[in-house]
């Protein structure tokens, strides 16, 4: 039986990771990049809890996922603050236009 609950969760994790990577490749807006990172992190949280469930250490998986949720929120906050300051300084959120590094 291929469609067991745990296999379905694995397919969901792979689907979310795939959609997130696709978004990371095609997105140019800085705020949307932060959102795409959120999608990727949600797949990772799901994978951590799934791994904990499979190994019989659900508490360990949950505690790691909680740490990842905190880190993910901080990444979002700092990323949005950077995006707002970049918008004020450069007048745009388009990543190719604000990249001033050359070479």
């Amino acid at each position: 039986m291929i469609f067991t609950p745990l296999n379905i969760i694995l397919f969901g994790v792979v689907g979310l990771l795939g959609v997130g990577l696709y978004g990371l490749l095609i997105t140019r807006n800085l705020i949307k990049v932060v959102m795409v990172l959120q999608i990727l992190i949600k797949a990772v949280i799901l994978a951590l809890v799934l791994a904990g469930k499979l190994s019989g250490h659900l508490g360990l998986g949950q505690s790691t996922a909680a740490t990842v949720i905190v880190a993910d929120t901080i990444v979002a906050v700092v990323g949005l603050a950077l995006a707002v300051q970049v918008r004020r300084r450069f007048g745009t959120l388009d990543v190719p236009r604000i990249s001033t590094l050359r070479g």
Binding site: M1, G15, I31, K42, L46, L60, A66, I69, A81, A83
Partner: protein, 164 residues
């Protein structure tokens, strides 16, 4: 029955993720992101990780959505996503290949039944992973600094104008 519940939650999450990426208006993408958080937290609850599900729902669908809406209200009319630099078929092919390889490698690791073991989050968090708690405290302070950066209204060149 349980498989159908998981399938509905996860198909909904993947669909919302795709809609969030292709949406032209970033405010719509923010709403889709909140839906993803709600659906993922539902899946976590079904898995037995109720505490993490509550955290994900309150932080992912609540706090992060509010922060995103606030940031969008600050940046104003620049909240549109321009066209991609990378051709979409190329990006789709690369990501599809990566997803197939990942599924192919990870699929044998998933057994049909879960192992039964300890389920205590509190002892795991406060005894085995106490370093994580300290790291979270440091990260929360970094987040406070990020919020201050998000809320600051300083305009470049404002100091010079005051001095003049």
């Amino acid at each position: 029955m349980e498989s159908i519940q998981y399938a509905v939650f996860l198909l909904g999450a993947v669909f919302c993720a795709y809609r969030a990426i292709v949406a032209k208006r970033i405010l719509s993408a923010t709403i889709y992101l909140a839906c993803i958080s709600a659906l993922v937290s539902g899946t976590l609850y079904l898995l037995g990780a109720a505490q993490v599900a509550v955290m994900e729902l309150s932080v992912g669908a609540g706090l992060v959505t509010i922060l995103l809406v606030y940031a969008l209200s600050v940046v104003g009319d620049d909240a549109m996503d321009p066209a991609s630099v990378i051709p979409k078929p190329l990006a789709f092919g690369v990501v599809g290949l990566a997803a197939v390889l990942l599924g192919w490698m990870a699929f044998p690791a998933v057994r049909t039944t879960a192992a039964v073991g300890e389920f205590d989050l509190a002892s795991s968090l406060w005894q085995d992973r106490v370093l994580d708690v300290w790291i979270q405290i440091v990260l929360i302070f970094s987040g406070v600094m990020g919020v201050l950066g998000l809320l600051s209204e300083k305009v470049p060149g404002a100091k010079e104008e005051v001095e003049q």
